[in-house]
Symmetry: C2
Subunit: 134 residues, 2 copies
């Protein structure tokens, strides 16, 4: 089987993060690479989680919130109560994300208006606003 683990450097290169960041995430229990002697080896699981972590960060979630979300993606055979709790948390996150989406749409619409105004203004002043909005 194709060596499925990666060194810390390989992880850093493919995700664009620093070693410090990966160790920090491990300390926060977001990642749990296996150890070969002293060295960390990151599994496919770690990669999947890291992807989710980085995505979560883009949406302004804290690492702690992200940790809760990560659990959802791995509730294979947990306890019933645990599953139910995680499920509720997930619903809350979903609601929050959909609210964010709505707000984002509104913000984009408003910003576009402003930009259009700016384009017209620039045109009126005879300045190139080389941005042919497809």
């Amino acid at each position: 089987m194709t060596e499925t683990t990666m060194t810390i450097r390989q992880m850093c290169d493919s995700f664009g993060v620093t070693p410090r960041t990966l160790r920090f995430y491990e300390a926060k229990e977001l990642l749990s690479p296996i150890r070969e002697g002293q060295k960390r080896l990151f599994t496919r699981r770690d990669r999947a989680r890291l992807k989710l972590i980085l995505r979560g960060k883009k949406f302004g979630f804290s690492l702690e919130e992200i940790r809760q979300l990560l659990d959802l993606y791995e509730m294979e055979g947990g306890e019933d109560t645990q599953l139910a709790r995680t499920y509720k948390i997930a619903l809350a996150h979903l609601a929050e994300m959909e609210a964010q989406r709505a707000a984002l749409d509104e913000a984009i619409a408003e910003l576009k208006e402003q930009i259009d105004w700016g384009a017209r203004e620039l045109a009126a002043r005879g300045i190139a606003s080389n941005t042919s909005a497809a």
Copy 2:
């Protein structure tokens, strides 16, 4: 004319922030309330800006980035070069926000999948997952 200005406390109450926050934003030149003696009086302009500030924060923009965006919403009669610069910044922000929207849509879709899985799993285990997705 209906007194159009608000005290710091009125602002805090209607926006759900603390006085410290408003003073902090003023120090960062995001707000510029007028002074009546020593006291701050927030104008309609300040309220509009604060609304945009809080929205920007929800999307993970830094206060400095938000300050740049705010300029866009007030480039009434600035210099040509200033207008052009602000215009470019706005385009960059728009691109970033649209990218965020795309990523957010994807994340929402995936989270929904997980939630559906969780709902089925809970059902199979005979647990109520009272959340009839409309």
